[in-house]
Symmetry: C2
Subunit: 420 residues, 2 copies
Amino acid sequence: MDWKQQMRALATRSREAARALAKWDTTSKNAALLAMAAGIEQAAATIKVANAKDVEAGRRAGLSAAVLDRLTLTDQRIAAVAQAVREIVALPDPVGQVRREWTAPNGMRMQKVSVPLGVILMIYEARPNVTVDAAALCVKSGNAVILRGGSEALHSNLALAEAMRPSLPADAVTVVPTTDRVAVDELLKLDDLINLCIPRGGESLIRAVVEKSRLPVIKHYKGVCHVFVDRDADLDMAEKIVINAKCQRPATCNALETLLVDEPVAAKFLPRIVRTLRSRRVELRVEERAQQYVIDGSIPLAEIRLATEEDWSAEYLDLILAIRVVAGLDEAIEHIAKYGSAHSDAIVTRNRDTAEQFLREVDSSSVFWNASTRLADGGVYGFGAEIGISTDKLHARGPMGLEDLTSYKYVVVGDGHIRE
Amino acid sequence: MDWKQQMRALATRSREAARALAKWDTTSKNAALLAMAAGIEQAAATIKVANAKDVEAGRRAGLSAAVLDRLTLTDQRIAAVAQAVREIVALPDPVGQVRREWTAPNGMRMQKVSVPLGVILMIYEARPNVTVDAAALCVKSGNAVILRGGSEALHSNLALAEAMRPSLPADAVTVVPTTDRVAVDELLKLDDLINLCIPRGGESLIRAVVEKSRLPVIKHYKGVCHVFVDRDADLDMAEKIVINAKCQRPATCNALETLLVDEPVAAKFLPRIVRTLRSRRVELRVEERAQQYVIDGSIPLAEIRLATEEDWSAEYLDLILAIRVVAGLDEAIEHIAKYGSAHSDAIVTRNRDTAEQFLREVDSSSVFWNASTRLADGGVYGFGAEIGISTDKLHARGPMGLEDLTSYKYVVVGDGHIRE
C-alpha cells in the first residue's frame, strides 16, 4: 500500500474510533484521561529514549537552540504534560449539553444537543506537548484525532501516542507514522472521513494547509493588535497596559503591534510612554503627527524612524511598535478596520460611552476595555484549556475551548407528528 | 475593468456596506425591511416587465414548464414575496445577543456577544423569491449579501434588488450583474472580503462551488433519510409517518429514502405498508430478507424489485422506496451510519430506552422519535425563516435560521488588567 491508500485506511479507522468514543459517557472519558496521564508517566523512560533520537537528529540537522529546547522532554516536562491531561478531567463534558430546549409550533419537543465533531486532524510544529494536549482535549470532547506534528518530533510523538493509547478505543489517537508530505496532503483531501483540520504554527504552514485542504480548516493567520489610548484615559493605566501588551511576550499573536493615541492626550502621553518603551528596548515606527510629541530632546532624532504604510499591517512579533496619533475614536476605529487582523484590540478610557462604541464597532474576536490584549487566551478566559485560537468567523472565533470541538444535533420528539 | 477587477470592486463595496449595516439597531433594520417590502410592491410593474424578459428568453431556450413556472412572477407571487419580508420584522434580532456572560478567573467581566458575519455570497438556481428571502434575512442579521441567482432569472433578480435597495446602505444587497462564470469564480476566491458562501441547488452545482471556493461554504449535499420501525412501534403511527415521509413531497431532501423494519414486526407491518405504498404508486426496492413479507399474493412477483447495494445510498427524490429488514436497533443504527447522509432519521417506537439509544447514537443533524423526517425544517422548528439547511457539522448544522448568520466576539471589561 502506498501512503495515499494507507492514509485512507488510517482515517477510516479513526472514523470507527470516533463512533466508539462518541458513545462514551463522562465517567468513562475521565477514567481514560487519568489512565492516559498515568500511561505517559509510566512510559517516561521509553519516551525519553525516543525523544533523544529526535533531539540528536535535530542537532545534526542544525536546528536552533530554541527549537531544540522546545523539542526536549525532561522528566519534569513529561510530568507537566501528564498533569495537563489530569486537569482536563475537571472540565465539564462539552458533549450532551442541551444548548436550547423548546416546543415547536406544532407541539413537538425540541432539543439542540451538543455532539462530537468526529475526526479532527491537527497539524503543528515541533512541540511534543501539543500531541498530548490535543489528544486529551479530543478525548474529552468525544473526537478521534489524527496528529501530524513537526517532522523533528516524530519519534517523540509516536512514543507519547503509544503511551496514551491503551486506555482508549483503538485508533482514537493516531500519530501519522511518516513525515512524507504525500501522506498529509492526502489526509487533507479526505473530507468524507475527517471533519475538521486545525493547523497550528507559522503563517506559511497555515497558508499551505488552507491552499491544499478540502477539509474545513479553523485557523489563525496573524494578530495585528491595537491599543487605543482615548482622551479620557487614565494615563497611568494606559502606560501599564501598553507596556504589558507590547513587552510581556512580544512573540505571541495577542501582543500589541500598533499604539493609537488620541490627539488631545498625545502631548501628555506620548513622551512618557516613549521613554518607558525605550527603556524596555522597544524600537519605534512613528507616524508624522506623532513625531513632534516623541522628540522631546532626550531622544536623538536619528532614532525616530517614520512609519511607512507597511508598518500599519505588520505583525512584528518582536520589540517593535508602530505609533499613530488619531483625531478621535472614529479615526481609531477606521484605522483598526483598515489595517487590523480582527484578533484582539483594546481601548483605554474612563468614558463609558466611548468604550461602548469601541466595543460595539471594532469587529475583532476579542475587544478589551481597560485591559491588555495579551489577555486574549482560553486559560485566562476560564475555558480551562485551549486547542487553538481562531481568526475565522465561522464555527469558532477567538480562543477555542472544548465547546468549540463540538457540533450539535436537533433531537425531536413527536407523537406521530407528520408534515401537513 | 474586466470581470475579475469588477468583482473585487463589488465585494469591496459590499464589505463597506456590511460595516455600515453592522451599526444599525433593530429598529432601523426593521424599518428598512418594511421599506423593502413596500418597495417591491411599488415596483411590481417594473419587476414584471423584467421577469417577462427572463420568461420569454427561457421559453426560447426550451426550459421545462416546471422551471418556467418557478421563474414566473405574478402580482400574487410578488405580494407573497413582499409579505415574507414583513414576517422577518417580527423575528428577534440575532445580533447583539449575549450568548454567555461570566467573570474570568482574574476578575475581568466577560461577554460572548453575537455579531454579523460580514459579507455573504448566495449562489442559487432559478427561483427569484430566494433573492428577496436571502436579502431580507441578511439585512435582519446585519450582513451584506451578494446574490448570484440562476442566469435564467437575471433580469428579475436585478429588478427585485433595485426595488429593495433604496432603504438600505449602498451595496448592502447586490445582484451580480452578469452570468459570466468568470465573475462568480472570482468571487469565490475573495476570502479577504467575503465571509461565507451558501450555495443552494442541485448536488452538482454545490460540488462545483466547493471545488472552486476559497471561502468557507455551508452546504447541503443530499438527504438519504431513514425511518426505523422498531419492534415496539405503534404500527398505525408507523404507517402514517412512513407514508408522510415518503409521499408528502418526495422531491425534497428530508423525504424518506430507506425504510428499516425490525424483524419481529416485519410479518405484521410489511404487508400493510407495502399495500398502502403501492396504492400511492410508490416503487419498491426490497432487500432479500424483506421480500418474503412483501409477497402476499396481491402483488405480482415481477413487480418486487430486489434492492442492490447502490439503493442504500440513493437519494431518489421520487416515489421510490428502499426497504430492509434488520435484526434490531443496533443493525438499524449500523445501516444508517454506513449508508446515511447524516441529514434526518427517525425511529418509531413506544419503548423509551430504544428511542433514547437511537437519538443518542444516530449522528444526524435531526433525529426524530415518533415523527416524520419531513418535519426537518426551519419553519416547523419555529425559527421563523430558513436561509438553507446544512449537512455540514461546522458552524451550522441542519435547518439554518437567522442565528446561523452570525458569529460572536468576546467583549472583555477590565480595570487595568494585564497578563502576569
